[in-house]
């Protein structure tokens, strides 16, 4: 949104395509609807309204419910809305696909009643629906945020089961001085944890060996180990979270080079500080270019838009550099806390490479055992696993299993995960019907 506003203010014609029904992205999801102005979502959420107002006044053409399923150099995008696909060409395209939660596979994670913490937050934001009798499990800032939002809404989680170990905290410690540059964010985090403590939510630390089963009434029985003891909790909803990873289907399908980010245990598109990639006319910004959070995403969007204004001759390089000062400072400050967060909430090895009986590919029901069997028969990369087992071939196109397949291929050893090339993202990056593809109507616009 911030990129679109900056570009439009600079005199470009801008088309904003977003798959969601309303503008706002993940963080400001549904902020425009009165339904969602629940005070328990906090001040940060409400500040999205300002951005939305600016967008409404900017002259940007906003297409909601518009799914991009193909990006080509040229550049052009092919997008689908209400079952009809269109092609739009432009001199510049900015890809800002955001992030998804890292899949948290364990035996039983496919049961109805096991969902992601983000899913519960989306239900709170868009439908005002609060989970009954929920357990939150995993780690990461969003887990604490959702817990605090549930407390404020009057339905505190039954327990918080944290995978964080003292060793992760020790590894994070050296990054603390730098993280102090983002003192505001650190304080916010401390306040969240304070709130969870004050509410008396039961916390289990250093948890491992997650497993879930369900009974006839649909209740979830969640077992895990904490401090050497086997624990059992019964709940209606088990909400898991283990940080977020970039959504790279669009950038990979567009042919942009990707590089391994060891700290975030994920691949990201290679780009310069303006988000310019090795593909002419294609920029990337926001969490889809590297997880940095909402403030960083906003700043990166501004920088990309300024660079696009320069590249299209609307401003000089000097003007771009001058106008970029605030956004660059914000980016520097907000990124300062990432090494600390990445180390403190690192995904545990058993989530990256889960036990044999765990379903890894939810679409095609492929287990970790089958993948290990495939490896013993010689499969060494995503492609062989995909062609022999169909893992990653279902409708989600690997969004739920790619990261785990990579984890299993490297036996949970994060230092080896970067050596496994990311799988190719095939077009269409979101499923559409043949009929829609065949009926493709072409129209072209001069957009940024």
């Amino acid at each position: 949104m911030s990129a679109a506003i900056t570009a439009a203010d600079g005199g470009l014609r801008v088309l904003l395509l977003d798959e969601q029904a309303q503008p706002g992205g993940q963080i400001y999801r549904n902020v425009g609807a009165r339904l969602a102005t629940h005070s328990w979502l906090g001040k940060d959420y409400a500040s999205g309204l300002r951005l939305l107002d600016a967008l409404a006044q900017s002259g940007v053409t906003v297409q909601s419910g518009a799914t991009v399923w193909r990006v080509d150099s040229g550049p052009r995008v092919v997008w689908s809305q209400n079952g009809i696909s269109q092609v739009t060409t432009a001199s510049h395209i900015l890809l800002a696909s955001g992030a998804q939660e890292r899949p948290v596979p364990f035996p039983g994670w496919t049961l109805p009643g096991v969902m992601t913490a983000g899913a519960a937050q989306i239900l709170m934001k868009t439908a005002g629906m609060l989970p009954k009798d929920a357990v939150l499990a995993g780690s990461g800032p969003l887990l604490y945020l959702v817990a605090a939002q549930m407390i404020d809404a009057g339905c505190p989680p039954k327990a918080l089961v944290e995978t964080q170990t003292p060793r992760m905290m020790l590894r994070a410690f050296p990054h603390l001085p730098k993280a102090l540059l983002s003192a505001g964010t650190l304080l916010k985090g401390l306040r969240l944890i304070g709130k969870i403590r004050a509410a008396g939510v039961r916390r289990y630390k250093g948890a491992s060996s997650f497993a879930a089963t369900s009974d006839d009434s649909g209740m979830i029985n969640f077992s895990f180990r904490s401090k050497g003891r086997l624990e059992n909790l019964t709940c209606a909803v088990l909400l898991t979270h283990q940080g977020v990873i970039l959504s790279t289907h669009m950038s990979r399908a567009a042919g942009i080079t990707h590089e391994w980010n060891a700290a975030q245990v994920a691949f990201q598109p290679s780009c310069d500080i303006w988000g310019a990639t090795d593909r002419p006319g294609l920029h990337v910004a926001g969490d889809g270019a590297g997880i940095g959070g909402a403030e960083a995403a906003c700043a990166a969007g501004t920088l990309a838009a300024l660079d696009i204004l320069r590249a299209s001759g609307h401003i000089s390089a000097n003007t771009r550099n001058q106008r970029a000062a605030t956004a660059r400072a914000t980016l520097f400050r907000t990124r300062a806390i990432r090494p600390f967060l990445d180390a403190a909430y690192a995904p545990p090895a058993e989530i990256l490479s889960p036990p044999d009986q765990t379903i890894i590919c939810r679409c095609e029901d492929v287990t970790a055992r089958a993948i290990r069997q495939g490896m013993s028969e010689g499969a060494a990369g995503h492609r062989q696993i995909k062609s022999s087992l169909r893992a990653g071939m279902g409708p989600c196109q690997g969004r739920m299993c790619d990261s785990t397949v990579r984890g299993i291929l490297s036996a949970g050893n994060t230092s080896r995960m970067g050596d496994i090339a990311p799988p190719r993202a095939r077009t269409p990056i979101k499923p559409i019907t043949f009929g829609e593809m065949a009926a493709l109507t072409t129209h072209s616009e001069d957009t940024a």
Partner: protein, 105 residues
């Protein structure tokens, strides 16, 4: 055994939409997603995999495809990305409907 919803019902304000799901009539606030309305209705599964596994909406943001249902006869519809509409007829998706042109590559 009926599986009760795992969520508190959405607040009753504003306009509603009525739709059919597996023969039952469901009323939901307008503007919420079909997946949210189904979760408010029941805690049971809404899709079955080819292997017979029961599944329900998981991510609510369009990435997991566990919320696939049949809407007005159209299979492979992501309930979390579809708003409830007055009069829509929704069914569970049983087994995997092959998606044309994208996953048999």
């Amino acid at each position: 055994m009926k599986i009760v919803s795992r969520f508190q019902p959405p607040p009753k304000t504003g306009a509603t939409a009525e739709f059919e799901y597996e023969g039952a009539s469901i009323t939901a606030p307008q503007g919420i997603s079909l997946a949210a309305a189904l979760l408010a209705h029941s805690g049971a599964y809404t899709r079955q995999t080819a292997g017979g596994d029961a599944r329900a909406a998981f991510c609510m943001m369009g990435v997991c495809f566990e919320c696939l249902v049949e809407v007005d006869g159209l299979p492979n519809t992501q309930a979390c990305m579809t708003e409830v509409r007055q009069g829509m007829v929704v069914r569970r998706q049983i087994g995997l409907r092959r998606l044309n042109g994208c996953n048999d590559s």
